[in-house]
Point group: C2
Chain length 136, copies 2
């Protein structure tokens, strides 16, 4: 239980610092960043909603709500496909420019608040736990 609380505490502190740094400088939430980043990484700017949901490991409802807010802020566009009933999500120019701004900030923040605290053994430990935790 002590281990559990330490683990939770570390995560919340570190994660909070990284997210806060990003959102202060760019106005993006973690979810916003995840969506935009995947759009360009995996789809060169556009993805169908289902693919996006899968890659984020979000359910369709969560993504739908989130996209509604992002669309309202002009970060993405929704447009129905005519081939089937899917929807294509496209990053807007403004979304792309904010993402480009965010990328270096995020990677610096991760380095500063996380990677710099880790020894090689810590990284080893994290890697292995990630594998073990994948199948319950």
């Amino acid at each position: 239980m002590r281990i559990w609380n330490m683990w939770k505490g570390s995560y919340k502190r570190i994660f909070g610092r990284v997210v806060k740094e990003m959102s202060e400088y760019t106005g993006l939430s973690e979810g916003d960043f995840g969506v935009l980043d995947r759009l360009v990484q995996f789809g060169n700017g556009k993805l169908r909603q289902q693919e996006l949901a899968d890659s984020m490991d979000w359910d369709k409802s969560r993504l739908s709500h989130h996209l509604t807010r992002m669309e309202k802020r002009g970060l993405v566009l929704r447009k129905p496909l005519d081939t089937d009933r899917g929807v294509q999500i496209t990053i807007t120019a403004s979304g792309k420019s904010i993402l480009d701004q965010a990328l270096p900030i995020v990677s610096k923040a991760i380095r500063k608040h996380f990677l710099d605290l880790l020894t090689d053994e810590d990284i080893e430990s994290i890697t292995k736990l990630a594998v073990r935790s994948k199948t319950p």
Copy 2:
């Protein structure tokens, strides 16, 4: 960045499993459990709101909102102190009984989904990271 994502992923999976197991069986959220547990651990059933907030590392607003919901469900009671403008939070009988139900479930879930995945070196790593992450 890969390390970061692995770390985030492990946390979310494991944490989600533990919380889900608790909430399915007891109807308590993580916040509910934290409040009730601290009330009995640190205050023998009652704490002033400020102490509770400090021990949870929550701001007063968050706690106030949460207590409103918990009070509505009959888990805690609020009563103003006459010595100063503080408020005393007391666990109710029903809150106590739900907590007693939850405790073994939580500790079993933590063991099953978390501790059992860890080697001694992992624990060492977690412990040290917790210390290093305390002061940014």
